[in-house]
Amino acid sequence: MATGSGAAAAAADAEEKESGSRMITLTSNEGKAFVVTEASARQSATIRSMVDDGGCVDKGFPLPNVDSKTLARVIQYCDEHGNKEAHTVDERAALAKFDKDFIAELDADKAFLYDVTMAANYLHIQGLFALTTQCIADTIKGKTPEEIRTAFGIEYDLTAQDEEEIKEEDTHA
């Protein structure tokens, strides 16, 4: 987890060191297996809780909602954040740089960006989810409703009455 404080973080750190050498297998919905370090897999709150509950570490985790292409990209993020330290200013700057490049690349392919966001949501990878959702939100900023509809392929379905009500609300807001 990217954030955390006090005793809980210390305990998590200790546990992470203890079990950090274990390897975990994640399987995409196409049946492709990805072997990652436990530290990397623990970026996902979903997997973390399954591991901590004494789950089937040896058997691996099938992920029926995530395809191989998406999973590979998600793992790229988890590897960076799970296996690298973020204690010094330089280390944090390196991670921030990684995030910046990572999201810039994803942003070029919106459909893929949404797939990664959905996977981050499903796997509860807080940092990645915040990164991708903020990126999508940033594209909305400064756009007119019409531009937003075009950008997201949304059909215009407001009635004249709806528009009237919105105007009314705005003068009261």
């Binding site: 919905n29 029926p64 919106k110 459909a111 903020q134 939100a137 392929g153 949304i154 609300e169």
Partner: protein
């Protein structure tokens, strides 16, 4: 052929219980993606994305489609949005910004107990931590509607201005829309007013005290009552609170977690009854009063203790 087979399998895997429906949905999404230059945003993400928009964009986004409008207007979304903003600040992802509403006097009349020449142009500036200067958010000219402004109060970004003529509520964050001018209530000069959120109905309420006695020189506590104005598109009048305040109150109340906290006015207490060491709490949901007592910290009667909110807790200072 191979690719199609994989896609079918993927659709089936997404929801084994309802393979046919899921498959249809999946196909529709693909088709949409082909029609539009950009991919369509999955419904599950809309809520999360909207949570991360600045207020101005959010209010404009109501005109995108019905589904977005319904989400943005729902009370549960509004709560989640405010919570998200606060947690972004506490996680240091976002620097807090301050709203500055300076009062200026048009002219100075000497020996006035309280100035009656306040500027009728209400301005708001926003200053974000770390910035060099504050920028103007909005300025509204109320053209001589009032003379004096009393203590302002705010709740979730709404700002209330009590004046000697009427009460105004601003929502500076949206930057548009007129100021809400509250109608006249009981025909007497009000004493004190507060603004807060009713946690039961998720509506903002303005509460003010009024005096039933016309003669202000003989302010008797038993002549005081309270009235409530609910800020919503339906309500447009003041409603007298069923229960009168059990103690006389003074100064402007402090809002904290669904209640307003008033100072008890010791001067108006009847002779003989010792003043209680406490605050009068008004619950905005059930609209009842309760006395909140505290231990005497300072032996001096001269010091008036004030309530402040620090890190989500109510403190005495």
């Amino acid at each position: 052929m191979d690719v199609i087979a994989t896609k079918n399998k993927k659709a089936l895997d997404r929801n084994p219980q309802e393979p046919t429906t899921m498959f249809k949905m999946y196909k529709r999404r693909r088709v949409q993606r082909q029609c539009h230059p950009s991919a369509s945003l999955p419904d599950e993400l809309v809520y999360e994305i909207l949570l991360r928009l600045p207020v101005k964009t959010l209010s404009r986004s109501k005109s995108v489609c019905r589904a977005w409008r319904a989400t943005i207007s729902s009370p549960s979304f509004i709560r989640a949005y405010l919570k998200q903003q606060q947690s972004a600040i506490s996680r240091h992802e976002q620097k807090p910004s301050f709203l500055i509403a300076p009062h200026t006097l048009d002219s100075v009349i000497h020996d006035e107990p309280w100035p009656s020449t306040f500027s009728n142009t209400i301005t708001f500036y926003r200053w974000q931590e770390g910035r060099d200067d504050a920028h103007l958010v909005r300025a509204t000219d109320l053209h001589g509607e009032f003379g004096s402004v009393y203590g302002m109060s705010h709740c979730d970004g709404l700002v209330m201005f009590p004046t000697d003529t009427r009460l105004y509520v601003f929502n500076p964050a949206t930057g548009k829309g007129d100021v809400l001018k509250l109608p006249d209530g009981q025909k007497s000069r009000f004493q004190t007013a507060g603004l807060g959120l009713d946690l039961g109905t998720n509506t903002y309420k303005v509460v003010r005290s009024f005096n039933r006695s016309i003669d202000f020189n003989q302010q008797a506590h038993d002549a005081a009552g309270m009235e409530v104005f609910t800020i919503s598109s339906r309500d447009s009048c003041w409603r007298t609170v069923a229960e009168d305040p059990p103690y006389p109150v003074t100064a402007h109340p402090m809002y904290f977690k669904g209640s307003l906290y008033w100072h008890i006015c010791k001067e108006l207490l009847q002779e003989g009854s010792p003043p209680p060491q406490g605050f009068l709490r008004f619950n905005l949901e059930d609209e009842t009063f309760r006395l909140v007592l505290y231990d005497v910290v300072s032996p001096s009667d001269e010091t008036r203790l004030d309530l402040v909110e620090l890190g989500g807790e109510l403190c005495l200072a």
